[in-house]
């Protein structure tokens, strides 16, 4: 059965790339370009995995993650923070808020990102 992945990312160019990669790896992908819409989509779509960026307009990724983990309807979704630059304290904060993975866009290839998220989704 296909796993559903919600991608919350404000860069439309990256959304195109990630959507293509995850869809061709067997995921059903839905996306949102800001945190508020992302939370609403998570409630509607009940994804298995939420992949979110940290720096986004309006609401940052930590706030989105906190909201998702507080809500009964969304707290079971596995959460992956996929961000441009990783700092130790940000990773710690993300893990404390309930992130299952913390990945750096700059350190991993696209196939490594898909591999890590697939392993988490099907674990």
């Amino acid at each position: 059965m296909k796993k559903k992945l919600l991608l919350i990312e404000d860069n439309p160019l990256l959304i195109t790339m990630y959507e293509t990669a995850f869809e061709s790896s067997g995921f059903e992908v839905v996306s949102a370009t800001d945190g508020k819409t992302g939370i609403a989509r998570a409630k509607e779509e009940k994804p298995d995995v939420v992949v979110l960026d940290l720096l986004m307009p309006g609401m940052d990724g930590f706030t989105v993650l906190g909201e998702l983990k507080k809500d009964k309807a969304t707290k079971k979704a596995k959460a992956v923070i996929l961000t441009a630059m990783v700092e130790k304290k940000e990773e710690e904060k993300g893990r404390l808020l309930g992130a299952d993975e913390f990945l750096a866009k700059s350190e991993l290839t696209l196939s490594q990102i898909v591999e890590r998220i697939s392993a988490l989704a099907y674990s």
Binding site: D10, L13, T20, D34, M56, G58, A84, M85, L110
Partner: protein
């Protein structure tokens, strides 16, 4: 009307470098991901074409960021103005207004300019031109069809003011004080260039000893660019 200064004279914060690095990394990540997809997967010609276009957009975005970011940093870090000559503010704005007037009809946006009396500024004409092209260009891009942009030039004994009034602006009122912050993510309405253009406009005004003030109104918002007048102006 609520009034807010566009954070004049704020020191360059580390957050700019962090946000700038983040934006650069995102564009690079999109290019790398696109190339990897094109090389590795058996994709149809349509999808390959779309991915290729997306890679090109990411490259354009990267170049735009580098140029904008460097210009902004140069403006903030550079000491005094290299060129400071007298020029007519009215003539400069008339010239820019005519250029915008040529294209504004396409989207049914009216441009008008009024000047109480001639004003001579001392500064770098090229930079002041860039300031107004960036400001008016952004406002034009985000004004709905049927909107109006008015430019009113006034002066007091000590300063010259260029008030740019805009109706039917698409940028929400709450975001207006944030749009001069480079690469701000606090705004809810993302600008295409992430606000680097307007941050540069503000830096140019400050380099001339001036500032940009935002006045939010119900139907018309105003962006007031102030310049100090030296001598008799």
């Amino acid at each position: 009307m609520k009034q807010k200064t566009a954070q004049g004279n704020a020191p360059l914060k580390l957050s700019f470098f962090s946000d700038f690095g983040h934006e650069l990394e995102n564009s690079l990540a999109a290019i790398r991901a696109g190339i990897e997809l094109l090389e590795g997967k058996d994709l149809g010609p349509d999808l390959k074409g779309d991915l290729f276009k997306t890679i090109c957009h990411a490259e354009e975005r990267l170049l735009h960021l580098i140029r904008g970011g460097m210009s902004y940093l140069q403006m903030v870090h550079q000491g005094k103005l290299r060129t400071a000559k007298k020029f007519s503010l009215e003539k400069l704005l008339q010239e820019i207004s005519n250029e915008f007037g040529l294209v504004s009809g396409e989207r049914n946006i009216t441009f008008s300019i009024s000047c109480e009396r001639p004003i001579v500024l001392v500064g770098d004409r090229r930079l002041v031109r860039e300031l107004f092209v960036l400001l008016l260009g952004t406002l034009y891009r985000y004004t709905n069809a049927g909107g109006a942009i008015t430019i009113k030039i006034t002066r007091t004994k000590v300063s010259a003011a260029v008030a740019v009034g805009v109706s039917k602006l698409l940028i929400p009122s709450r975001d207006l004080p944030l749009i001069f912050t480079p690469l701000s993510k606090r705004n809810t309405f993302p600008l295409e260039d992430g606000g680097l253009g307007l941050a540069l406009a503000r830096a140019i005004a400050e380099k001339h000893g001036g500032s940009i003030i935002v006045k939010r109104g119900k139907a018309i918002h105003s962006f007031i660019v102030l310049f100090p007048l030296r001598g008799r102006g």
